[in-house]
């Protein structure tokens, strides 16, 4: 068991809490840098997807996990980023500039969506974002001169000022750089006054307002940053798939994104990564399990949906803190070995706390 004695505020807000963290995350980074030589091409592609989804997950985590705002239309921001990247790259704009533009345009769109969020909350916001997601998907499908309509659009390999990222390895490193930068940015944001304001809004809007936090500004800001991260993710996603069409950004994609952060663990940065790993490896595991199951179950088309739903239900019922919460429990169990008690992480239920207006 490690005891942290904090002696000044700088230590409290330091990115790494203690030396052990520095060691382990450095090791993780080394492993990720060595990944192209450790994994086969197929698994490297999966790892790239994990990184891309992590960036999107970080954005959604910031919005849902740290600001407490629902979004059931995040695939729309992913789509805005992907299409911006596709159109700009095909027009010959260097990839990094296109990436910035994709994030910026997503942020603008996010701000627009954030505007109704100022007036509505909770479930209304979920429905507003859901509605927005459907409308954007329809725009992608109908604005054929730009998006290529339902036929989709092909995208050229990213071109970083003359250096083409056309191999899997080089693109993997590009994704890694973006992911690391995004993670550091979100971590830095969360220890800043802005991030503290987000968390205050999540915990209680009324008290945040009383503390002098401008609700409208911070909610819109949260939407914009979240959308920008989703836009970055979308831009990478477009390059990874090399072909995008409107049906990749539908409601099911949005639900997948929310499912990702819920299973990863709402309210933790680790959760975004664990959720992304889950989202990418689950279909692989189901694919492996298919060979072991009888054909009537294993080959049935609905299996994946059934498993996703069942896992989601199981997590909400038995592990509301997600994979990261499970890891925290396991770690605590080992750290204080014989003294772990069952109720240490139990959350108090709040029957009296009502979202209903009185």
């Amino acid at each position: 068991m490690r005891f942290l004695f904090k002696t000044d505020y700088a230590q409290d807000i330091h990115l790494a809490k203690h030396g052990g963290q520095v060691f382990w995350y450095a090791l993780l980074l080394l492993a990720l840098l060595a990944a192209p030589w450790l994994f086969t091409e197929y698994w490297l592609a999966q790892l790239t997807f994990v990184l891309i989804y992590s960036v999107v997950g970080l954005g959604l985590m910031l919005l849902s996990g740290f600001t407490g705002l629902f979004s059931l239309g995040h695939a729309a921001f992913l789509g805005v980023g992907a299409y911006t990247q596709a159109v700009l790259t095909n027009a010959g704009v260097p990839a990094p500039l296109a990436l910035v533009a994709a994030g910026a345009l997503s942020a603008v769109v996010g701000t627009v969506v954030g505007l109704p969020a100022l007036r509505v909350k909770g479930i209304y916001l979920a429905i507003a974002t859901l509605a927005f997601g459907f409308i954007v998907e329809e725009v992608f499908a109908r604005w054929e001169s730009v998006t290529g309509g339902n036929a989709g659009i092909h995208i050229k390999a990213p071109d970083v000022f003359g250096f083409k990222l056309d191999t899997d390895t080089s693109f993997y490193f590009a994704c890694l750089v973006v992911t690391v930068l995004a993670t550091l940015a979100v971590m830095n944001l969360l220890r800043s006054p802005t991030g503290r304001a987000f968390v205050a809004i999540r915990d209680s809007e009324v008290s945040a307002q009383s503390m002098g936090i401008h609700l409208a500004r911070y909610k819109t800001l949260s939407f914009a940053i979240s959308a920008a991260l989703a836009g970055f993710g979308g831009a990478l996603y477009a390059h990874k798939l090399r072909f995008i069409s409107p049906d990749q950004f539908d409601i099911l994609q949005s639900v997948d994104l929310v499912l990702m952060i819920v299973i990863g663990g709402v309210g933790s940065i680790h959760g975004a990564f664990l959720g992304a790993i889950f989202l990418i490896t689950m279909p692989q595991l189901i694919g492996l399990a298919k060979d072991w199951l009888p054909a009537t179950i294993g080959q049935a088309p609905g299996l994946q949906g059934l498993v996703y739903g069942a896992v989601l239900i199981a997590f909400v019922l038995f592990e509301p803190m997600g994979l990261y919460g499970r890891w925290l429990k396991l770690r605590t169990y080992l750290q204080i070995f014989p003294f772990y008690r069952k109720g240490m992480f139990a959350r108090q239920k709040s029957y009296l706390k009502s979202d209903r207006l009185k």
Binding site: I123, R142, V258, G302, L306, Y308, L317, Y351
Partner: protein, 291 residues
């Protein structure tokens, strides 16, 4: 005449949205949770009706009663097994739970061999029948939807206004703790409300089946019930039906007068406008949260 025709078919479609939204609002009022599984419950109801009619050879009315009763029981069981344990958790968790229920229901139906992957026709006695009223051609399937919605809403009105259970449900939805102290079995009522919502969804499914066929993805129509509930004002039962009608009619008119593509998003455009202009909906009360 043509406009009237379109409005009538819009009303019929709107009744379906309204019925699903009614289930959503019932659950919201009772447990303060929003069910995104309502569309899937509707799909399950339609499939039960289909199985009972085609495999067991029951007549339509018996299958109708059977499917509605079965779904009602299913709703009660569902509430007991998965919803009740997590009441009191953040609303976000419960929304995700209902989405999970929807996934499982859709996946499970798709996995049934020879049933889930195909589209089926529900052999109702009034299939493809038409009434002619002057130049107006009325589709009996749509008329049945409208009539059934009228009957169902009057029954629900009577239940909530006069029966003991209905009044108790209203009390529980207004203040759960106070109702509990008054000796109302709130938990059991919540179960009943889920059963009622599932039964209403099954009715919607059976009414919709002759028009759109029965298939595993028919539950996605439930997503359009959310705009209906918001337009009517979340938490108002008549509002849910009116909201459904508004969405249905706007959608039908948009499909006819506006370019292709607008029909699919009409419901969502309406709800976004509604949320900006009047977030509390047509029938919702304008309230502010106080500390």
């Amino acid at each position: 005449m043509q406009a009237l025709q379109i409005v009538i078919s819009g009303i019929a479609q709107g009744c379906i949205y309204g019925l699903i939204a009614l289930g959503v609002v019932l659950i919201y009022k009772a447990t303060e949770t929003v069910s995104f599984a309502q569309g899937e419950l509707m799909m399950l109801g339609a499939f039960i009706g289909l199985i009972v009619m085609s495999s067991l050879g029951f007549p339509f009315w018996l299958a109708f009663v059977g499917a509605v009763a079965a779904m009602g029981a299913f709703g009660i069981v569902l509430e007991r097994l998965v919803i009740r344990p997590i009441l009191g958790q953040p609303a976000f968790s419960i929304v995700m739970l209902t989405i999970g229920i929807g996934y499982v229901a859709r996946g499970a139906i798709t996995m049934v061999p020879g049933l889930g992957t195909e589209t089926h026709t529900l052999p109702v006695p009034y299939k493809d029948a038409i009434w002619k009223l002057g130049t107006l051609v009325l589709n009996v399937e749509q008329m049945v939807i409208i009539a059934a919605t009228l009957v169902l809403s009057s029954v629900l009105y009577v239940v909530f206004r006069y029966s003991k259970v209905g009044v108790a449900m209203q009390a529980a939805s207004q203040n759960q703790i106070a109702a509990y102290y008054m000796g109302i079995p709130v938990k059991r009522l919540n179960g009943l409300v889920w059963g009622l919502a599932a039964a209403v969804a099954a009715i919607a499914g059976l009414l919709l089946a002759p028009i759109t066929f029965v298939h595993a993805n028919m539950g996605f129509i439930g997503l359009k019930a959310m705009p209906a509930a918001v337009v009517g004002g979340f938490g108002s039962l008549p509002g849910a039906l009116v909201g459904g009608l508004v969405i249905g009619v706007v959608e039908a008119l948009a499909g006819f007068y506006l370019p292709e593509g607008f029909k699919d998003v009409a419901a969502y455009v309406v709800v976004l406008i509604m949320l900006v202009v009047r977030p509390s909906g047509l029938f919702g009360e304008k309230l502010r949260k106080k500390v």
